[in-house]
Subunit: 310 residues, 2 copies
Protein backbone atom coordinates (compact mmCIF):
# COMPACT_ATOMS: atom_id res chain seq x y z
CA UNK A 1 0.00 0.00 0.00
CA UNK A 2 1.38 3.36 -0.98
CA UNK A 3 -0.66 6.11 0.56
CA UNK A 4 -0.42 9.46 -1.13
CA UNK A 5 2.29 11.71 0.13
CA UNK A 6 -0.08 14.11 1.81
CA UNK A 7 1.37 14.72 5.22
CA UNK A 8 0.22 16.64 8.16
CA UNK A 9 1.97 19.99 8.44
CA UNK A 10 3.40 19.27 11.85
CA UNK A 11 5.86 22.14 11.64
CA UNK A 12 3.92 24.73 9.73
CA UNK A 13 0.57 24.34 11.44
CA UNK A 14 -0.37 26.76 14.17
CA UNK A 15 -0.42 25.18 17.59
CA UNK A 16 -3.28 27.36 18.80
CA UNK A 17 -5.38 27.69 15.69
CA UNK A 18 -8.39 29.78 14.94
CA UNK A 19 -11.27 28.07 13.14
CA UNK A 20 -10.46 25.56 10.41
CA UNK A 21 -12.36 23.33 8.02
CA UNK A 22 -11.27 20.41 5.81
CA UNK A 23 -13.61 18.74 3.31
CA UNK A 24 -13.60 15.84 0.88
CA UNK A 25 -15.89 14.73 -1.92
CA UNK A 26 -14.89 11.09 -2.15
CA UNK A 27 -11.78 9.09 -2.95
CA UNK A 28 -11.97 7.24 -6.26
CA UNK A 29 -10.60 6.75 -9.75
CA UNK A 30 -9.43 9.64 -11.89
CA UNK A 31 -12.34 9.44 -14.31
CA UNK A 32 -12.73 11.28 -17.62
CA UNK A 33 -15.76 12.92 -16.09
CA UNK A 34 -13.76 14.24 -13.17
CA UNK A 35 -11.18 15.69 -15.58
CA UNK A 36 -13.86 17.27 -17.77
CA UNK A 37 -15.80 18.73 -14.88
CA UNK A 38 -12.79 19.68 -12.77
CA UNK A 39 -13.61 23.38 -12.63
CA UNK A 40 -17.19 22.65 -11.57
CA UNK A 41 -15.94 20.35 -8.83
CA UNK A 42 -13.45 22.97 -7.64
CA UNK A 43 -16.21 25.57 -7.55
CA UNK A 44 -18.43 23.23 -5.53
CA UNK A 45 -15.63 22.56 -3.05
CA UNK A 46 -14.90 26.28 -2.70
CA UNK A 47 -18.59 26.95 -2.11
CA UNK A 48 -18.71 24.31 0.63
CA UNK A 49 -15.60 25.77 2.28
CA UNK A 50 -17.04 29.29 2.04
CA UNK A 51 -20.27 28.27 3.76
CA UNK A 52 -18.49 26.53 6.61
CA UNK A 53 -16.02 29.41 6.96
CA UNK A 54 -18.79 32.02 7.13
CA UNK A 55 -20.39 30.22 10.04
CA UNK A 56 -17.16 29.47 11.91
CA UNK A 57 -15.93 33.08 11.57
CA UNK A 58 -19.26 34.26 12.98
CA UNK A 59 -18.76 31.99 16.00
CA UNK A 60 -20.77 28.95 14.95
CA UNK A 61 -20.05 25.62 16.64
CA UNK A 62 -17.84 23.10 14.84
CA UNK A 63 -20.78 20.80 14.04
CA UNK A 64 -22.68 23.65 12.39
CA UNK A 65 -19.67 24.35 10.19
CA UNK A 66 -19.38 20.70 9.21
CA UNK A 67 -23.11 20.46 8.52
CA UNK A 68 -23.05 23.58 6.33
CA UNK A 69 -20.21 22.20 4.22
CA UNK A 70 -21.87 18.80 3.84
CA UNK A 71 -25.25 20.31 2.94
CA UNK A 72 -23.54 22.29 0.17
CA UNK A 73 -21.90 19.14 -1.19
CA UNK A 74 -25.11 17.09 -0.91
CA UNK A 75 -26.79 19.76 -3.04
CA UNK A 76 -24.17 19.45 -5.81
CA UNK A 77 -25.46 16.69 -8.12
CA UNK A 78 -22.04 15.44 -9.27
CA UNK A 79 -21.28 14.25 -5.74
CA UNK A 80 -22.65 10.94 -4.51
CA UNK A 81 -24.86 12.22 -1.68
CA UNK A 82 -28.35 13.70 -1.56
CA UNK A 83 -29.58 14.38 -5.11
CA UNK A 84 -27.11 12.66 -7.43
CA UNK A 85 -26.68 9.66 -5.14
CA UNK A 86 -25.61 6.33 -6.61
CA UNK A 87 -28.51 4.00 -7.43
CA UNK A 88 -29.23 0.68 -5.76
CA UNK A 89 -29.60 -2.47 -7.86
CA UNK A 90 -33.35 -1.77 -8.19
CA UNK A 91 -32.77 1.80 -9.44
CA UNK A 92 -33.84 3.47 -6.19
CA UNK A 93 -31.79 5.80 -4.00
CA UNK A 94 -30.78 5.02 -0.40
CA UNK A 95 -28.83 7.63 1.50
CA UNK A 96 -26.87 7.54 4.76
CA UNK A 97 -25.18 10.21 6.85
CA UNK A 98 -23.70 10.89 10.28
CA UNK A 99 -22.49 13.78 12.38
CA UNK A 100 -20.47 13.80 15.60
CA UNK A 101 -19.59 16.62 17.97
CA UNK A 102 -16.28 16.17 19.73
CA UNK A 103 -16.96 18.23 22.84
CA UNK A 104 -19.46 15.80 24.34
CA UNK A 105 -19.54 13.09 21.64
CA UNK A 106 -23.06 14.09 20.71
CA UNK A 107 -23.81 12.01 17.61
CA UNK A 108 -26.57 11.32 15.14
CA UNK A 109 -26.79 9.04 12.11
CA UNK A 110 -29.28 7.81 9.54
CA UNK A 111 -29.02 4.88 7.13
CA UNK A 112 -31.17 3.78 4.24
CA UNK A 113 -33.09 7.06 3.89
CA UNK A 114 -35.17 7.37 0.72
CA UNK A 115 -36.70 10.83 1.01
CA UNK A 116 -34.49 13.35 2.83
CA UNK A 117 -33.28 16.22 0.62
CA UNK A 118 -30.32 16.61 2.99
CA UNK A 119 -29.62 13.37 4.84
CA UNK A 120 -27.01 15.12 6.99
CA UNK A 121 -29.77 17.31 8.44
CA UNK A 122 -31.60 14.10 9.28
CA UNK A 123 -28.48 12.97 11.15
CA UNK A 124 -28.50 16.30 13.03
CA UNK A 125 -32.14 15.73 14.00
CA UNK A 126 -31.20 12.32 15.42
CA UNK A 127 -28.29 13.91 17.30
CA UNK A 128 -30.82 16.16 19.03
CA UNK A 129 -32.85 13.12 20.20
CA UNK A 130 -32.14 10.26 22.62
CA UNK A 131 -31.17 8.03 19.70
CA UNK A 132 -27.91 7.85 17.79
CA UNK A 133 -28.82 5.74 14.75
CA UNK A 134 -32.14 5.37 12.95
CA UNK A 135 -32.52 3.26 9.81
CA UNK A 136 -34.89 2.59 6.95
CA UNK A 137 -38.42 3.67 6.23
CA UNK A 138 -39.09 4.30 9.93
CA UNK A 139 -36.27 6.85 9.93
CA UNK A 140 -37.85 8.69 6.98
CA UNK A 141 -41.17 8.74 8.82
CA UNK A 142 -39.56 9.91 12.07
CA UNK A 143 -37.88 12.76 10.17
CA UNK A 144 -41.07 13.68 8.31
CA UNK A 145 -42.82 14.11 11.68
CA UNK A 146 -40.09 16.57 12.65
CA UNK A 147 -40.49 18.61 9.49
CA UNK A 148 -37.36 17.59 7.60
CA UNK A 149 -37.68 18.53 3.92
CA UNK A 150 -38.32 15.48 1.77
CA UNK A 151 -38.94 14.48 -1.83
CA UNK A 152 -40.17 11.34 -3.54
CA UNK A 153 -37.41 8.80 -4.08
CA UNK A 154 -37.53 9.22 -7.86
CA UNK A 155 -36.65 12.92 -7.50
CA UNK A 156 -33.16 11.96 -6.29
CA UNK A 157 -32.41 9.93 -9.42
CA UNK A 158 -30.15 11.70 -11.95
CA UNK A 159 -29.57 10.80 -15.59
CA UNK A 160 -25.87 10.49 -14.76
CA UNK A 161 -26.49 7.81 -12.14
CA UNK A 162 -28.99 5.95 -14.36
CA UNK A 163 -26.26 5.65 -16.98
CA UNK A 164 -23.73 4.55 -14.38
CA UNK A 165 -26.06 1.83 -13.10
CA UNK A 166 -26.81 0.68 -16.67
CA UNK A 167 -23.15 0.35 -17.68
CA UNK A 168 -22.04 -1.09 -14.33
CA UNK A 169 -19.74 1.85 -13.68
CA UNK A 170 -16.84 1.50 -11.33
CA UNK A 171 -17.81 2.05 -7.71
CA UNK A 172 -18.86 5.66 -7.25
CA UNK A 173 -16.98 6.86 -4.23
CA UNK A 174 -18.20 10.44 -4.29
CA UNK A 175 -19.14 10.33 -0.60
CA UNK A 176 -18.77 13.79 0.97
CA UNK A 177 -17.46 14.80 4.37
CA UNK A 178 -16.21 17.66 6.50
CA UNK A 179 -14.25 18.15 9.71
CA UNK A 180 -14.23 21.48 11.54
CA UNK A 181 -12.54 23.23 14.42
CA UNK A 182 -14.44 26.14 15.93
CA UNK A 183 -13.29 29.25 17.81
CA UNK A 184 -13.77 27.50 21.12
CA UNK A 185 -11.36 24.74 20.11
CA UNK A 186 -14.11 22.15 19.61
CA UNK A 187 -14.08 19.63 16.80
CA UNK A 188 -16.82 17.97 14.73
CA UNK A 189 -17.12 15.60 11.78
CA UNK A 190 -19.88 14.89 9.27
CA UNK A 191 -20.17 12.43 6.36
CA UNK A 192 -22.92 11.74 3.79
CA UNK A 193 -23.24 9.22 0.97
CA UNK A 194 -25.48 7.54 -1.56
CA UNK A 195 -23.51 4.32 -1.28
CA UNK A 196 -22.29 2.26 -4.21
CA UNK A 197 -23.86 2.05 -7.67
CA UNK A 198 -25.69 -1.28 -7.95
CA UNK A 199 -25.61 -2.05 -4.22
CA UNK A 200 -28.32 -4.31 -2.80
CA UNK A 201 -31.18 -2.40 -1.22
CA UNK A 202 -30.51 -2.35 2.54
CA UNK A 203 -26.72 -2.35 2.23
CA UNK A 204 -25.04 0.14 4.58
CA UNK A 205 -21.40 1.23 4.34
CA UNK A 206 -19.11 3.04 6.77
CA UNK A 207 -20.40 6.60 6.33
CA UNK A 208 -23.25 6.47 8.90
CA UNK A 209 -21.27 4.36 11.37
CA UNK A 210 -19.63 6.33 14.16
CA UNK A 211 -16.14 4.95 14.61
CA UNK A 212 -15.94 3.56 11.08
CA UNK A 213 -16.55 6.46 8.63
CA UNK A 214 -17.02 9.33 11.08
CA UNK A 215 -15.63 10.25 14.49
CA UNK A 216 -15.00 13.30 16.65
CA UNK A 217 -13.74 13.67 20.20
CA UNK A 218 -11.74 16.36 22.02
CA UNK A 219 -8.54 15.42 20.22
CA UNK A 220 -9.45 14.65 16.62
CA UNK A 221 -12.20 14.69 14.01
CA UNK A 222 -12.23 12.23 11.07
CA UNK A 223 -14.37 11.68 7.96
CA UNK A 224 -13.67 8.73 5.63
CA UNK A 225 -14.44 7.75 2.04
CA UNK A 226 -13.75 4.61 0.05
CA UNK A 227 -14.58 0.92 0.08
CA UNK A 228 -17.09 1.00 2.93
CA UNK A 229 -16.89 -2.64 3.94
CA UNK A 230 -13.11 -2.49 4.29
CA UNK A 231 -13.38 0.73 6.32
CA UNK A 232 -15.86 -0.95 8.70
CA UNK A 233 -13.67 -4.03 9.06
CA UNK A 234 -10.69 -1.78 9.79
CA UNK A 235 -12.61 0.44 12.23
CA UNK A 236 -10.79 3.39 10.72
CA UNK A 237 -12.00 6.56 12.42
CA UNK A 238 -12.06 5.15 15.98
CA UNK A 239 -8.65 3.60 15.51
CA UNK A 240 -7.14 6.93 14.50
CA UNK A 241 -8.64 8.60 17.57
CA UNK A 242 -7.40 5.87 19.91
CA UNK A 243 -3.90 5.91 18.40
CA UNK A 244 -3.79 9.71 18.84
CA UNK A 245 -4.94 9.16 22.45
CA UNK A 246 -1.89 6.90 22.83
CA UNK A 247 0.46 9.58 21.52
CA UNK A 248 0.74 8.57 17.86
CA UNK A 249 0.88 11.55 15.48
CA UNK A 250 -2.21 12.34 13.43
CA UNK A 251 -0.57 11.61 10.07
CA UNK A 252 1.01 8.36 11.24
CA UNK A 253 -2.25 7.23 12.84
CA UNK A 254 -4.11 7.99 9.58
CA UNK A 255 -1.57 6.11 7.48
CA UNK A 256 -1.75 3.10 9.78
CA UNK A 257 -5.52 3.07 9.55
CA UNK A 258 -5.46 3.29 5.73
CA UNK A 259 -2.90 0.49 5.82
CA UNK A 260 -5.43 -1.67 7.66
CA UNK A 261 -8.01 -0.83 5.00
CA UNK A 262 -5.54 -1.88 2.31
CA UNK A 263 -4.89 -5.13 4.20
CA UNK A 264 -8.63 -5.82 3.84
CA UNK A 265 -8.37 -5.19 0.09
CA UNK A 266 -9.86 -1.71 0.26
CA UNK A 267 -8.95 1.69 -1.11
CA UNK A 268 -10.03 5.14 -0.06
CA UNK A 269 -9.06 8.23 1.83
CA UNK A 270 -9.88 10.38 4.79
CA UNK A 271 -9.60 13.82 6.28
CA UNK A 272 -8.46 14.30 9.87
CA UNK A 273 -8.16 17.47 11.93
CA UNK A 274 -6.90 17.92 15.47
CA UNK A 275 -7.65 20.46 18.18
CA UNK A 276 -4.48 22.44 17.33
CA UNK A 277 -5.69 22.95 13.77
CA UNK A 278 -3.32 20.42 12.20
CA UNK A 279 -4.79 18.30 9.47
CA UNK A 280 -4.03 15.58 6.95
CA UNK A 281 -5.90 14.22 3.93
CA UNK A 282 -4.27 10.95 2.78
CA UNK A 283 -5.79 8.73 0.10
CA UNK A 284 -4.82 5.54 -1.70
CA UNK A 285 -6.94 6.13 -4.82
CA UNK A 286 -5.99 8.14 -7.90
CA UNK A 287 -8.06 11.14 -6.88
CA UNK A 288 -9.83 12.67 -3.91
CA UNK A 289 -11.44 16.08 -4.42
CA UNK A 290 -10.69 17.98 -1.22
CA UNK A 291 -10.23 21.39 0.26
CA UNK A 292 -9.20 23.22 3.39
CA UNK A 293 -9.33 26.62 4.98
CA UNK A 294 -7.75 27.89 8.18
CA UNK A 295 -8.26 31.19 9.97
CA UNK A 296 -5.91 33.78 8.48
CA UNK A 297 -5.30 31.72 5.36
CA UNK A 298 -6.82 31.25 1.93
CA UNK A 299 -9.17 28.46 0.93
CA UNK A 300 -7.43 25.80 -1.16
CA UNK A 301 -8.87 22.95 -3.18
CA UNK A 302 -7.34 20.03 -5.07
CA UNK A 303 -9.05 17.45 -7.24
CA UNK A 304 -6.69 15.15 -9.03
CA UNK A 305 -3.13 15.82 -7.91
CA UNK A 306 -1.52 14.59 -4.74
CA UNK A 307 -0.33 18.01 -3.60
CA UNK A 308 -0.75 18.32 0.13
CA UNK A 309 -3.18 20.73 1.67
CA UNK A 310 -0.92 23.07 3.66
CA UNK B 1 -17.75 5.39 37.84
CA UNK B 2 -16.92 2.30 39.81
CA UNK B 3 -16.63 -0.65 37.52
CA UNK B 4 -17.07 -4.02 39.14
CA UNK B 5 -13.92 -5.52 40.51
CA UNK B 6 -13.74 -8.19 37.84
CA UNK B 7 -10.17 -8.22 36.73
CA UNK B 8 -8.35 -10.07 34.07
CA UNK B 9 -6.38 -12.96 35.44
CA UNK B 10 -3.05 -11.67 34.20
CA UNK B 11 -1.11 -13.99 36.44
CA UNK B 12 -3.22 -17.09 36.50
CA UNK B 13 -4.14 -17.23 32.82
CA UNK B 14 -2.26 -19.53 30.57
CA UNK B 15 -0.05 -17.69 28.10
CA UNK B 16 -0.54 -20.24 25.37
CA UNK B 17 -4.12 -21.27 25.90
CA UNK B 18 -6.19 -23.95 24.32
CA UNK B 19 -9.71 -23.03 23.24
CA UNK B 20 -11.71 -20.67 25.43
CA UNK B 21 -15.15 -19.07 25.41
CA UNK B 22 -16.67 -16.22 27.41
CA UNK B 23 -20.35 -15.27 27.18
CA UNK B 24 -22.71 -12.65 28.56
CA UNK B 25 -26.48 -12.27 28.60
CA UNK B 26 -26.73 -8.54 29.15
CA UNK B 27 -25.74 -6.05 31.82
CA UNK B 28 -28.66 -4.58 33.71
CA UNK B 29 -30.50 -4.16 36.99
CA UNK B 30 -30.79 -6.92 39.54
CA UNK B 31 -34.48 -7.50 38.96
CA UNK B 32 -36.83 -9.66 41.03
CA UNK B 33 -37.32 -11.73 37.92
CA UNK B 34 -33.61 -12.38 37.60
CA UNK B 35 -33.47 -13.49 41.23
CA UNK B 36 -36.50 -15.75 40.84
CA UNK B 37 -35.29 -17.31 37.59
CA UNK B 38 -31.62 -17.45 38.53
CA UNK B 39 -31.30 -21.21 38.17
CA UNK B 40 -32.96 -21.11 34.72
CA UNK B 41 -30.56 -18.37 33.64
CA UNK B 42 -27.59 -20.33 34.93
CA UNK B 43 -28.76 -23.42 33.06
CA UNK B 44 -29.12 -21.39 29.85
CA UNK B 45 -25.62 -19.96 30.25
CA UNK B 46 -24.17 -23.43 30.88
CA UNK B 47 -25.95 -24.76 27.81
CA UNK B 48 -24.51 -21.95 25.66
CA UNK B 49 -21.00 -22.62 27.02
CA UNK B 50 -21.41 -26.35 26.42
CA UNK B 51 -22.39 -25.86 22.78
CA UNK B 52 -19.47 -23.54 22.07
CA UNK B 53 -17.08 -25.83 23.92
CA UNK B 54 -18.21 -28.91 21.99
CA UNK B 55 -17.41 -27.20 18.71
CA UNK B 56 -14.13 -25.68 19.81
CA UNK B 57 -12.87 -28.98 21.26
CA UNK B 58 -13.71 -30.66 17.96
CA UNK B 59 -11.59 -28.08 16.12
CA UNK B 60 -14.26 -25.59 15.05
CA UNK B 61 -13.19 -22.06 14.18
CA UNK B 62 -13.63 -19.33 16.78
CA UNK B 63 -16.54 -17.73 14.93
CA UNK B 64 -18.42 -21.05 14.86
CA UNK B 65 -18.00 -21.33 18.62
CA UNK B 66 -19.26 -17.79 19.16
CA UNK B 67 -22.20 -18.37 16.82
CA UNK B 68 -23.19 -21.60 18.60
CA UNK B 69 -23.21 -19.87 21.98
CA UNK B 70 -25.23 -16.91 20.70
CA UNK B 71 -27.75 -19.14 18.90
CA UNK B 72 -28.33 -20.97 22.19
CA UNK B 73 -28.91 -17.70 24.04
CA UNK B 74 -31.16 -16.31 21.28
CA UNK B 75 -33.29 -19.43 21.68
CA UNK B 76 -33.74 -18.86 25.43
CA UNK B 77 -36.83 -16.63 25.75
CA UNK B 78 -35.75 -14.85 28.94
CA UNK B 79 -32.86 -13.21 27.09
CA UNK B 80 -33.48 -10.14 24.94
CA UNK B 81 -32.52 -11.56 21.54
CA UNK B 82 -34.37 -13.68 18.99
CA UNK B 83 -37.66 -14.91 20.49
CA UNK B 84 -38.15 -12.95 23.71
CA UNK B 85 -36.77 -9.74 22.25
CA UNK B 86 -37.84 -6.41 23.72
CA UNK B 87 -40.76 -4.79 21.89
CA UNK B 88 -40.62 -1.54 19.95
CA UNK B 89 -43.05 1.28 20.79
CA UNK B 90 -45.55 -0.18 18.29
CA UNK B 91 -45.40 -3.66 19.86
CA UNK B 92 -43.34 -5.21 17.06
CA UNK B 93 -39.94 -6.87 17.34
CA UNK B 94 -36.76 -5.60 15.64
CA UNK B 95 -33.59 -7.59 16.09
CA UNK B 96 -29.94 -6.82 15.37
CA UNK B 97 -26.77 -8.90 15.47
CA UNK B 98 -23.16 -8.97 14.35
CA UNK B 99 -20.26 -11.38 14.12
CA UNK B 100 -16.57 -10.69 13.50
CA UNK B 101 -13.69 -13.08 12.84
CA UNK B 102 -10.35 -11.80 14.08
CA UNK B 103 -8.07 -13.67 11.72
CA UNK B 104 -9.02 -11.67 8.62
CA UNK B 105 -11.61 -9.29 10.12
CA UNK B 106 -14.36 -11.02 8.22
CA UNK B 107 -17.55 -9.43 9.51
CA UNK B 108 -21.30 -9.51 9.04
CA UNK B 109 -24.13 -7.61 10.67
CA UNK B 110 -27.88 -7.14 10.42
CA UNK B 111 -30.08 -4.44 11.94
CA UNK B 112 -33.82 -4.05 12.16
CA UNK B 113 -34.66 -7.66 11.26
CA UNK B 114 -38.29 -8.66 11.85
CA UNK B 115 -38.37 -12.30 10.83
CA UNK B 116 -35.10 -14.18 11.50
CA UNK B 117 -35.42 -16.94 14.11
CA UNK B 118 -31.69 -16.53 14.77
CA UNK B 119 -30.50 -13.07 13.78
CA UNK B 120 -26.88 -14.05 14.46
CA UNK B 121 -27.13 -16.61 11.64
CA UNK B 122 -28.30 -13.75 9.42
CA UNK B 123 -25.15 -11.87 10.40
CA UNK B 124 -23.12 -14.95 9.45
CA UNK B 125 -24.83 -15.04 6.06
CA UNK B 126 -23.85 -11.39 5.50
CA UNK B 127 -20.27 -12.20 6.56
CA UNK B 128 -20.15 -14.74 3.72
CA UNK B 129 -21.17 -12.07 1.18
CA UNK B 130 -19.48 -8.92 -0.14
CA UNK B 131 -21.48 -6.81 2.30
CA UNK B 132 -20.86 -6.17 5.98
CA UNK B 133 -24.11 -4.55 7.13
CA UNK B 134 -27.66 -5.01 5.81
CA UNK B 135 -30.64 -3.30 7.42
CA UNK B 136 -34.41 -3.37 7.50
CA UNK B 137 -36.99 -5.18 5.44
CA UNK B 138 -34.55 -5.60 2.55
CA UNK B 139 -32.25 -7.54 4.87
CA UNK B 140 -35.08 -9.90 5.83
CA UNK B 141 -35.84 -10.46 2.14
CA UNK B 142 -32.16 -10.98 1.29
CA UNK B 143 -31.93 -13.60 4.06
CA UNK B 144 -35.17 -15.31 2.99
CA UNK B 145 -33.69 -15.77 -0.49
CA UNK B 146 -30.74 -17.54 1.12
CA UNK B 147 -32.94 -19.90 3.09
CA UNK B 148 -32.56 -18.46 6.58
CA UNK B 149 -35.31 -19.77 8.87
CA UNK B 150 -37.91 -17.11 9.54
CA UNK B 151 -41.18 -16.58 11.38
CA UNK B 152 -43.87 -13.91 11.30
CA UNK B 153 -42.99 -10.93 13.49
CA UNK B 154 -45.79 -11.70 15.94
CA UNK B 155 -44.25 -15.10 16.68
CA UNK B 156 -41.32 -13.37 18.41
CA UNK B 157 -43.57 -11.52 20.85
CA UNK B 158 -43.66 -13.03 24.35
CA UNK B 159 -46.16 -12.34 27.12
CA UNK B 160 -43.25 -11.25 29.30
CA UNK B 161 -42.23 -8.52 26.86
CA UNK B 162 -45.84 -7.40 26.30
CA UNK B 163 -46.10 -6.81 30.04
CA UNK B 164 -42.77 -5.00 30.09
CA UNK B 165 -43.85 -2.69 27.28
CA UNK B 166 -47.19 -2.03 28.97
CA UNK B 167 -45.70 -1.08 32.33
CA UNK B 168 -42.78 0.86 30.82
CA UNK B 169 -40.25 -1.51 32.37
CA UNK B 170 -36.72 -0.37 32.94
CA UNK B 171 -34.54 -0.77 29.87
CA UNK B 172 -34.15 -4.46 29.09
CA UNK B 173 -30.46 -4.99 28.60
CA UNK B 174 -30.54 -8.75 28.06
CA UNK B 175 -28.44 -8.50 24.92
CA UNK B 176 -26.36 -11.66 24.46
CA UNK B 177 -22.79 -12.08 23.27
CA UNK B 178 -19.85 -14.45 23.04
CA UNK B 179 -16.11 -14.24 22.43
CA UNK B 180 -14.08 -17.32 21.52
CA UNK B 181 -10.51 -18.44 21.02
CA UNK B 182 -10.03 -21.54 18.87
CA UNK B 183 -7.30 -24.18 18.76
CA UNK B 184 -5.48 -22.26 16.07
CA UNK B 185 -5.23 -19.16 18.27
CA UNK B 186 -7.87 -17.24 16.32
CA UNK B 187 -10.44 -15.02 17.98
CA UNK B 188 -14.06 -14.13 17.15
CA UNK B 189 -16.90 -12.13 18.69
CA UNK B 190 -20.68 -12.21 18.24
CA UNK B 191 -23.52 -10.13 19.72
CA UNK B 192 -27.31 -10.25 19.31
CA UNK B 193 -30.10 -8.08 20.72
CA UNK B 194 -33.76 -7.13 20.56
CA UNK B 195 -32.92 -3.56 21.55
CA UNK B 196 -34.74 -1.57 24.23
CA UNK B 197 -38.36 -1.98 25.32
CA UNK B 198 -40.39 0.88 23.86
CA UNK B 199 -37.71 1.98 21.38
CA UNK B 200 -38.85 3.78 18.23
CA UNK B 201 -39.11 1.48 15.22
CA UNK B 202 -35.88 1.93 13.23
CA UNK B 203 -33.69 2.62 16.26
CA UNK B 204 -30.37 0.73 16.17
CA UNK B 205 -28.00 0.38 19.13
CA UNK B 206 -24.39 -0.73 19.38
CA UNK B 207 -24.84 -4.50 19.04
CA UNK B 208 -24.76 -4.71 15.21
CA UNK B 209 -22.09 -2.03 14.85
CA UNK B 210 -18.58 -3.39 14.42
CA UNK B 211 -16.27 -1.30 16.57
CA UNK B 212 -19.05 -0.22 18.94
CA UNK B 213 -20.69 -3.37 20.35
CA UNK B 214 -18.61 -6.07 18.65
CA UNK B 215 -14.99 -6.38 17.52
CA UNK B 216 -12.39 -9.04 16.81
CA UNK B 217 -8.87 -8.83 15.43
CA UNK B 218 -5.71 -10.89 15.96
CA UNK B 219 -5.18 -9.49 19.46
CA UNK B 220 -8.60 -9.26 21.09
CA UNK B 221 -12.31 -10.07 20.78
CA UNK B 222 -14.98 -7.95 22.48
CA UNK B 223 -18.77 -8.11 22.91
CA UNK B 224 -20.64 -5.32 24.71
CA UNK B 225 -23.99 -4.83 26.41
CA UNK B 226 -25.64 -1.80 27.96
CA UNK B 227 -26.88 1.64 26.99
CA UNK B 228 -26.35 1.31 23.25
CA UNK B 229 -26.20 4.99 22.41
CA UNK B 230 -23.49 5.63 24.99
CA UNK B 231 -21.51 2.62 23.74
CA UNK B 232 -21.67 3.98 20.18
CA UNK B 233 -20.61 7.46 21.28
CA UNK B 234 -17.72 5.93 23.21
CA UNK B 235 -16.69 3.59 20.37
CA UNK B 236 -16.05 0.94 23.00
CA UNK B 237 -14.96 -2.25 21.24
CA UNK B 238 -12.64 -0.58 18.72
CA UNK B 239 -11.10 1.58 21.43
CA UNK B 240 -10.22 -1.47 23.52
CA UNK B 241 -8.57 -3.11 20.51
CA UNK B 242 -6.57 0.01 19.65
CA UNK B 243 -5.45 0.51 23.25
CA UNK B 244 -4.31 -3.12 23.39
CA UNK B 245 -2.47 -2.49 20.09
CA UNK B 246 -0.70 0.36 21.91
CA UNK B 247 0.37 -1.91 24.76
CA UNK B 248 -2.36 -1.20 27.29
CA UNK B 249 -3.46 -4.30 29.25
CA UNK B 250 -6.81 -5.87 28.38
CA UNK B 251 -8.39 -5.14 31.77
CA UNK B 252 -7.16 -1.54 31.87
CA UNK B 253 -8.29 -0.94 28.28
CA UNK B 254 -11.72 -2.34 29.12
CA UNK B 255 -12.05 -0.20 32.24
CA UNK B 256 -11.04 2.92 30.31
CA UNK B 257 -13.63 2.18 27.64
CA UNK B 258 -16.37 1.62 30.25
CA UNK B 259 -15.23 4.89 31.83
CA UNK B 260 -15.90 6.65 28.54
CA UNK B 261 -19.37 5.09 28.47
CA UNK B 262 -19.99 6.35 32.00
CA UNK B 263 -18.81 9.82 30.94
CA UNK B 264 -21.61 9.73 28.33
CA UNK B 265 -24.09 8.84 31.08
CA UNK B 266 -24.24 5.16 30.16
CA UNK B 267 -24.01 1.91 32.05
CA UNK B 268 -23.24 -1.58 30.86
CA UNK B 269 -20.62 -4.25 30.61
CA UNK B 270 -18.51 -6.23 28.21
CA UNK B 271 -16.55 -9.42 27.77
CA UNK B 272 -13.06 -9.33 26.27
CA UNK B 273 -10.70 -12.19 25.41
CA UNK B 274 -7.17 -12.05 24.03
CA UNK B 275 -5.14 -14.44 21.92
CA UNK B 276 -3.37 -15.81 25.02
CA UNK B 277 -6.68 -16.87 26.52
CA UNK B 278 -6.83 -14.07 29.09
CA UNK B 279 -10.22 -12.54 29.63
CA UNK B 280 -12.15 -9.97 31.62
CA UNK B 281 -15.86 -9.28 32.09
CA UNK B 282 -16.32 -5.88 33.78
CA UNK B 283 -19.73 -4.24 34.22
CA UNK B 284 -21.07 -1.09 35.84
CA UNK B 285 -24.62 -2.37 36.40
CA UNK B 286 -25.93 -4.43 39.33
CA UNK B 287 -25.88 -7.68 37.37
CA UNK B 288 -24.51 -9.25 34.22
CA UNK B 289 -25.24 -12.95 33.68
CA UNK B 290 -22.00 -14.36 32.29
CA UNK B 291 -19.93 -17.46 31.95
CA UNK B 292 -16.59 -18.77 30.81
CA UNK B 293 -14.82 -21.96 29.99
CA UNK B 294 -11.19 -22.60 29.15
CA UNK B 295 -9.53 -25.77 27.88
CA UNK B 296 -8.64 -27.98 30.82
CA UNK B 297 -10.97 -26.13 33.18
CA UNK B 298 -14.59 -26.28 34.28
CA UNK B 299 -17.38 -24.11 32.94
CA UNK B 300 -18.35 -21.35 35.39
CA UNK B 301 -21.33 -19.02 35.38
CA UNK B 302 -22.34 -16.05 37.50
CA UNK B 303 -25.54 -14.05 37.43
CA UNK B 304 -25.81 -11.49 40.15
CA UNK B 305 -22.59 -11.31 42.11
CA UNK B 306 -19.40 -9.55 41.11
CA UNK B 307 -17.16 -12.56 41.54
CA UNK B 308 -14.58 -12.64 38.81
CA UNK B 309 -14.51 -15.34 36.20
CA UNK B 310 -11.16 -16.99 36.75
Amino acid sequence: MAASDERIGEDSAMRASGPAVVIHAGAGPLSDELLERESDVQAALLDALRRARAGLEAGAAAEEGALAAVVAMEDFPLFNAGRGSALCADGSVQMSASVMRGRDRGAGAVAGLRRAINPILGAREVMLSEQVLLVGEAADEWLAERGLEQLANGDFVTERQLVRLRVGAEADRGTVGAVCLDRGGNLAAATSTGGISGQPVGRVGDSPLLGAGTWADRRVAVSCTGDGEAFIRAGVARQIAALVECGVGLAEASERALGEVAARGGMGGLIALDACGRWCAPFTTAAMPRGAWRSGGEAQVHVRDVRALT
